[in-house]
Symmetry: C2
Subunit: 189 residues, 2 copies
């Protein structure tokens, strides 16, 4: 099951560390967490010590007992300070007539939540095909005016307005004024 490219900690090591970290953050003892999760504390002890390959139900029980999402136990963190100026062309950006989308940030692995800056010219509505099921989009209008949301029932936005909607249906972003810009957050849940 070669998923440990030498340098990396390895999956179960990550889980072990995350589990202990979250447990201590929650101020629980090993015994207490084991009891709450309905797991033998011997099992929990072994998992935290990095032994073996726990079953998903076991891990799930522990995660919910800790009150944290499952993914926090498997995806490690990662910080850093980064600046991107208004004009700069970032990692990835798409551009069609009068519409530019700049990818500001995305979370590994395989991008679960992406942050975009969008600018659009009026008169050229941007219709997006449905994304993967479970996707959700958030839009905050920074300037101008726009029509955004599901294609069937878009919402008119003014600066500061916010709308969220499922991303797995066709959706639209249509600038109604010059200098229209917005911040997009796209979650892949």
């Amino acid at each position: 099951m070669g998923n440990s490219p030498a340098g990396e900690p390895g999956l179960i090591a990550v889980i072990a560390a995350a589990l202990r970290r979250e447990r201590e953050r929650a101020g629980m003892s090993l015994s207490e967490l084991a009891k709450r999760a309905g797991v033998a504390k011997s099992t929990l002890s072994q998992i935290e010590s990095g032994a073996g390959n726990p079953g998903v139900e076991t891990l799930w029980a522990l995660a919910t007992a800790l009150g944290v999402p499952f993914s926090r136990l498997v995806d490690p963190p990662r910080p850093a300070t980064r600046v991107l100026r208004a004009g700069e062309g970032p990692a990835a950006h798409s551009e069609v007539a009068g519409y530019t989308a700049a990818l500001l940030a995305s979370s590994p692995p395989n991008a679960r939540r992406d942050l975009y800056r969008v600018t659009a010219r009026p008169g050229e509505p941007r219709l997006s095909a449905p994304h993967a099921p479970g996707t959700v989009e958030h839009v905050v209008l920074a300037s101008g005016r726009a029509l955004a949301g599901p294609a069937e029932e878009p919402v008119e936005l003014r600066p500061g307005d916010y709308v969220t909607y499922p991303g797995d249906v066709p959706h639209i972003f249509d600038a109604l004024a010059a200098d229209t810009s917005a911040v997009f957050v796209m979650e892949h849940i």
Copy 2:
């Protein structure tokens, strides 16, 4: 391991469905996926049929072979359309002299990623104490001018500028012009 509140599908059923869905979306046969992931196809067959409690390493191998994040196999989706107007006071908002922060969206359980809209008046810098370790903040300036980032080395932002930095150190947001507003994304990774 009572994690199936009657109405819900149950964890392993969710995994089974998600696995089959993702596999078919990737256009892979059961045999092919099994081989790529280094898993016996009998094992994969049983998992997809909803049998038993697969190990995390097995699931991880399948997820990476499918090219999808681990969490997509365990966390089911959830949509909804919601609008919040610029002036509206939403779910939660803090307000100190000349500084308002409105919580636009947060992801359950226990908020892993929050979306804020912030407006600030110049001359009243907002210094935030460190958040939980692993927190990361993203800021996109919508209007005005501001100094934002880690307290030791803030960055001057103009409309459209973007900065990201660790949230577990003291950080600052200082408006430099009237009508300064920004969009905040706070991740708890």
